[in-house]
């Protein structure tokens, strides 16, 4: 019981047996496959339900807290900073500013995409500072996007809207 006196360099060894991808594809190792079927139906709740229904109408809605005077977007039923119920519903504009963006060459499973997606955090006009949400940009070349760019929502035709954030097809630059 005198570890402190041991003159060792840690970790002393690196246990584990690395495998190559080929070991799996060529079935050199034994494995068990499972394809679980787990499904959920999340209740959207009061705030987001209203938000989704307004999207069908082609409008963006936010909520307002009279204590910190913030206009909260995406809307919520309570102000998380003041910890009190919200006071009002307010419409915000379908225009905004790019806070930050990325040009993505990979899909959700990390497979390469032929055409990159431009994803951005967009602060909507009419809401408080930094009240933004994530969406994609269109009608713009990746090299032309910049932080601070003004953008406007391009909506799906009314009959195709289903109460989802994808009712906005994408956001396009306002100047041109």
């Amino acid at each position: 019981m005198s570890v402190g006196k041991k003159d060792i360099s840690c970790p002393p060894e690196a246990p584990g047996t690395p495998l190559k991808d080929a070991d799996i594809t060529e079935k050199k190792v034994t494995y068990v496959e499972d394809h679980p079927d787990m499904r959920y139906a999340w209740t959207a709740g009061q705030a987001i339900s209203r938000f989704l229904n307004e999207l069908k109408e082609g409008r963006l809605i936010a909520t307002k807290c009279n204590k910190c005077r913030r206009i909260l977007f995406p809307p919520r039923m309570f102000c998380e900073l003041c910890y009190k119920p919200i006071d009002d519903w307010v419409y915000v504009k379908d225009t905004g500013t790019v806070q930050t963006f990325s040009i993505s060459y990979i899909d959700p499973d990390a497979r390469p995409l032929e055409e990159p997606i431009i994803v951005a955090v967009i602060a909507v006009d009419g809401a408080s500072k930094n009240m933004a949400f994530m969406h994609v940009l269109g009608e713009v070349e990746p090299k032309d996007v910049y932080i601070g760019m003004k953008v406007k929502a391009v909506w799906k035709p009314e009959e195709e809207r289903e109460g989802s954030v994808t009712d906005i097809k994408y956001w396009k630059p306002m100047e041109k």
Binding site: V32, D34, W42
Partner: protein
């Protein structure tokens, strides 16, 4: 330095909650708890512990969605992947370590959001040993355990039915219990044998709800409330992860209770405990857990159950709230419902189901396919 419960709040319990999201039911429970404790969560709370499992929620990292509705933005907030009573133990340790003066524990169930409940439980099983065996609903695991346990302990069908009758009738006195009903032993024995030897009415149906507790150290508790309920002891224990090496007599609860009783200074639980809330998500589990908590002796529990020893007006009331059979399976919030009932009883706020009690014990199990559980002893 002792630890006290200084505020409780809950929302529910309902068979389903189509109008409110999990965030909104949690918000409701938290708001009530903070009001009960008379504190402002944004100023006074030092730590928040949430008890959740990702797959019950349908998320990969559920911890992300926790802080806002609890007032925990930019505060020490964390998740323990376990039942509410493990959360109580965590908050207890944080307060004892002086990391927090006031710590909050939350758990909720939005079981109605899960469309494939059986698949979800199956997903908890060892993928190589167990998951592929048979296509039955995984409740059969509980039936296997029941089969061994009731034979070993000579517990009869009528005695098990008695648990269902007691709890569902108790639930009639609890306005928050959605599954109360006036049934008889005969009704239970006539219910379909779904997983022989287990009948349909012996299985707790699912429910939605949220529970929030505010815990504080002794100094703060004395300052802010006249009715502190002391957390006298906490215990938690895991047996094994392999189904085939589990004891099938709730050794996890026996060991957890030993730890909690030791902290609480309880040497003769059957005498010193006035009221108990135990996990009864399968009716036979109530027997197992009563025995493991040392509230009665093996081979005697069945008879005592029939004699009304564990009834509301019995010697040692168990599951006066209606238990999980009357309130529903609240997933990781199950222990929360148990602890809530004990706290309400000790604070004499239990209304029509009030019993005389000064020391109570709450116990929860982590559900199939685990052999882990936690115990908390409360006292005034």
């Amino acid at each position: 330095m002792r630890v006290a419960v200084v505020g409780v709040g809950y929302s529910g319990f309902n068979a389903n909650t189509p109008d409110l999201s999990w965030k909104e039911i949690t918000l409701e429970a938290a708001t009530r708890a903070y009001d009960d404790a008379g504190i402002n969560p944004r100023k006074d709370v030092d730590s928040i512990v949430t008890c959740a499992e990702d797959i019950w929620e349908g998320f990969a990292i559920f911890d992300e969605f926790v802080p806002d509705q609890l007032g925990g933005v930019l505060k020490p907030t964390c998740t323990v992947c376990a039942d509410f009573l493990f959360g109580i133990a965590t908050a207890y340790m944080q307060i004892k370590s002086e990391l927090a003066d006031i710590a909050v524990v939350e758990a909720h169930s939005k079981a109605s959001d899960i469309l494939t409940f059986g698949e979800t439980i199956k997903f908890a099983m060892d993928p190589i040993w167990l998951r592929e065996i048979g296509s039955a609903h995984p409740y059969y695991f509980a039936a296997l355990e029941m089969s061994q346990y009731v034979n070993e302990c000579c517990i009869t069908e009528e005695q098990i039915a008695e648990v269902v009758v007691k709890n569902k009738n108790n639930a009639l006195k609890n306005s928050s219990a959605p599954y109360g009903s006036k049934i008889t032993v005969e009704d239970v024995l006539n219910s379909p044998m779904v997983f022989d030897p287990m009948r349909k009415l012996e299985i707790a149906p699912r429910a939605d709800g949220a529970i929030v507790f505010v815990l504080a150290n002794e100094d703060v508790a004395r300052d802010i409330t006249d009715t502190p309920v002391w957390v006298k002891g906490v215990g938690w224990w895991s047996e094994t992860s392999n189904y085939d090496t589990m004891s099938f007599n709730a050794a996890y609860t026996y060991k957890a209770a030993k730890m909690a009783y030791k902290l609480a200074g309880i040497t003769n639980p059957a005498k010193e405990i006035d009221i108990a809330e135990v996990d009864d998500r399968f009716a036979f589990k109530e027997f197992q857990h009563i025995e493991a908590l040392q509230l009665s002796k093996r081979f005697e529990t069945g008879t005592l159950m029939q004699e009304g020893y564990f009834a509301k007006d019995g010697e040692l009331p168990v599951n006066v709230s209606g238990g999980s059979l009357g309130i529903g399976n609240l997933l990781e919030a199950t222990g929360g419902q148990k602890a809530l009932e004990i706290v309400l009883q000790l604070r004499r706020l239990a209304g029509r189901r009030q019993v005389e009690a000064e020391t109570g014990v709450a116990q929860a199990w982590r559900y199939i396919p685990t052999a882990s559980g936690a115990v908390t002893v409360f006292g005034v």
